[in-house]
């Protein structure tokens, strides 16, 4: 599969009141044609900043893209002209936000707002746009009779489905979805996830799905990248990462979530908190919380290595290279989930 989007060494900072927030720190990530990739991390990990950088929507000030390249269709979006970027936004790459009202205008009917997008991108007649908008509404499970209704007459899940309809209306190549279901109830979330899965199959769109929910990723994505303090610490296919998580942070994350299939009566949380993004540790960003940290972890930054014997499973951690391996960690990785 070909890479549709290639992020290389992206570094983004926010400069506020004499402090520098290191939000994204040399992040590299690829998204292939037709694939869906989950970007998982806790609050402040830098997920939203990464997505906003792709479309250059990071607020400046205080945000600054300090370095890196983002190739889309062979063009570096970070160096491209404003006019080209505008045609990419919403046209070739569209974004879905956590709060559907970010994308909806309260004073226009939902149908009108979808039709407007279609008209803009396809240069078709009003009637044609309306007909297509009605189709889109039905596709996301909303009867077309509700075309004339306003956002406030819809529930959260319905509004999010309208936003999804708007974002696929112009048949984008990539959809960036930032926590699209976090604000929804589980039964409604399940409907929206199913819808996204269907659309993905029908339209072969690539999807970057940002979430903190490992369950959502397992249901929707082909691959997953785990983010911590502005870096990808582990990535691979869903079976690679979910069956045998190998980064101490990922292992801790899985130990922290109660699941329905869980038998144990005690969770095994990660001690401590995420490091302050204005004062990142000198060594591995996870070293202050890592139960396996050794001296070098506190002074040097680990690079990315491929796990031996696995096709795409990558890790940002020293532990697999140690001559004297940590027996406990090796045991945990081998046992898997």
């Amino acid at each position: 599969m070909e890479n549709l989007l290639e992020i290389k060494n992206l570094t983004v900072e926010y400069h506020t009141q004499g402090e520098i927030v290191h939000a994204v720190n040399g992040l590299s990530l690829n998204l292939r044609q037709g694939e869906s990739l989950g970007l998982v991390g806790e609050t402040g990990a830098g997920k939203t900043t990464t997505a906003l950088s792709i479309l250059q929507l990071v607020a400046d000030p205080p945000g600054k893209i300090m370095g890196g390249e983002i190739f889309f269709d062979g063009v570096d979006l970070l160096k491209t002209k404003k006019s080209l970027l505008r045609s990419v936004r919403g046209n070739k790459i569209s974004m879905i936000f956590q709060d559907p009202m970010t994308s909806l205008n309260p004073v226009y009917s939902v149908g009108f707002q979808i039709a407007e997008v279609i008209q803009l991108h396809e240069n078709c007649s009003k009637e044609e746009a309306r007909r297509k908008a009605e189709e889109m509404l039905e596709m996301v499970g909303i009867p077309k009779e509700r075309y004339e209704e306003y956002p406030h007459q819809f529930s959260g899940g319905m509004k999010q489905r309208v936003v999804i309809a708007m974002s696929v209306a112009c048949s984008p190549q990539i959809i960036l979805a930032d926590e699209p279901t976090t604000a929804l109830d589980v039964t409604i979330q399940a409907q929206v996830l199913e819808l996204m899965n269907d659309l993905k199959e029908k339209l072969h769109t690539s999807l970057l799905l940002i979430t903190h929910d490992l369950g959502v990723v397992a249901q929707v994505c082909d691959r997953v990248a785990i983010m911590y303090s502005g870096e990808i610490v582990e990535q691979g296919t869903i079976p690679e990462v979910f069956d045998h998580p190998a980064h101490p942070y990922t292992i801790g994350l899985f130990g922290s979530i109660p699941t329905l299939s869980m038998e144990s009566t005690k969770l095994t949380p990660i001690e401590g908190q995420m490091p302050d993004p204005t004062e990142l540790p000198a060594g591995c960003n996870f070293s202050p919380r890592c139960p396996y940290a050794r001296a070098e972890c506190h002074s040097k930054k680990p690079g990315v290595t491929r796990i031996p014997g696995e096709a795409t499973h990558e890790l940002r951690c020293f532990a697999l290279g140690w001559e004297q391996p940590d027996e406990t960690l090796m045991e945990v990785i081998k046992r898997g989930r």
Partner: protein, 327 residues
């Protein structure tokens, strides 16, 4: 039963709105035994927090009884309520908005001790506050910090320490970990479990997250639009889910596993409005199994053995059907 710390009987709370009467809690019955945890689950707006607020006397009930150690909260006067409050505490979802931003951590934790005159000297107060901070795993150096200086997990620990200060018997936890990151959620859930074991606490644990209740509760009550649709021991509920809504809710949870795609029970139709609801099963518009006789009158909780109750006209029939297919 004698060892029930809390009994809720035919509890109703209606709100008058300009579109009609909103049935937030509509004839709810349940009990919690001392030292146990009841998990109250349901989706947004179904009435969980309203039940919680009724129990704490923060709303007055439209009708019904709430017996705390046998005493009816709904009939308590101001002085009785003041005394009851000492026994019942609450931990809120949003640890930020629930803490006074102008008070230091030690003042927040110590305030209930002063209000209820539980300490006789400044030295005793300080000692007790530090003890409480230690119990919930807050470092002493944070004593003079303010809420905005703490992260969500620590703020929630402050809320827990405050709730524990009066050595209550009963704590209501309203979505206590929903606003926290997963790694911090686990720390707080473990802490709540440890405290329960240490102090013999009884919890009413309100949440929309079934995986959290499964981990946390002895008994579970599933709520839909103001009514309980199923109550049972926790493991029994997951083993033998009876109500169509509980089944749909369970099947909608995305499991964090590879090779385990969701087999979702599809829900169709629209949510019923809680305003002036027609008599009949509130779930009928979305239920796969809805029959004509599901509307007209409300289903009530029926005993299916082993303290497993379900309010569905077709539960027995559906259970037999399911068993038949498996045989």
């Amino acid at each position: 039963m004698a060892d029930n710390i809390l009994e809720v009987k035919h509890l109703k709370k209606y709100f008058k709105t300009n579109r009609g009467t909103l049935h937030a809690v509509d004839d709810v019955n349940f009990s919690i035994r001392k030292g146990e945890t009841l998990g109250l689950v349901g989706e947004s707006g179904c009435g969980k927090s309203t039940i919680g607020r009724l129990i704490l006397g923060l709303h007055s009930a439209t009708s019904g009884e709430i017996l705390f150690n046998g005493q009816d909260i709904c009939k308590a006067d101001a002085q009785q309520m003041h005394d009851l409050r000492r026994q019942m505490q609450i931990i809120f979802q949003d640890p930020f908005s629930s803490l006074n931003p102008r008070m230091s951590i030690s003042e927040i934790i110590g305030e209930p001790l002063i209000i209820h005159k539980m300490v006789s000297s400044r030295a005793e107060l300080d000692k007790r506050v530090l003890e409480l901070m230690d119990v919930v795993g807050l470092s002493q150096r944070l004593e003079n910090s303010y809420p905005h200086e703490l992260d969500g997990g620590r703020r929630q620990r402050v809320g827990i320490a405050r709730a524990l200060s009066l050595t209550p018997q009963f704590i209501m936890c309203d979505e206590p970990v929903s606003s926290l990151d997963v790694s911090i959620q686990a720390q707080v859930l473990n802490l709540l479990k440890d405290l329960q074991a240490e102090f013999g606490l009884t919890y009413l644990f309100i949440t929309h997250d079934l995986s959290v209740v499964k981990y946390f509760s002895d008994k579970i009550a599933v709520m839909y639009l103001g009514q309980l649709v199923e109550t049972s021991a926790s493991d029994e509920l997951f083993r033998n889910t009876l109500h169509p809504y509980s089944q749909a809710l369970l099947s909608a949870i995305p499991e964090p596993r590879a090779h385990h795609k969701m087999q979702r029970v599809k829900l169709t139709g629209e949510l019923t409005s809680p305003i002036n609801p027609e008599p009949g099963c509130r779930f009928a518009k979305r239920c796969l199994y809805a029959a004509p006789y599901c509307t007209g009158q409300d289903p009530t909780l029926q005993d299916f053995g082993d303290n497993h109750f379900c309010a569905c006209f077709r539960a027995e029939e559906l259970r037999k059907e399911a068993a038949g297919i498996e045989e």
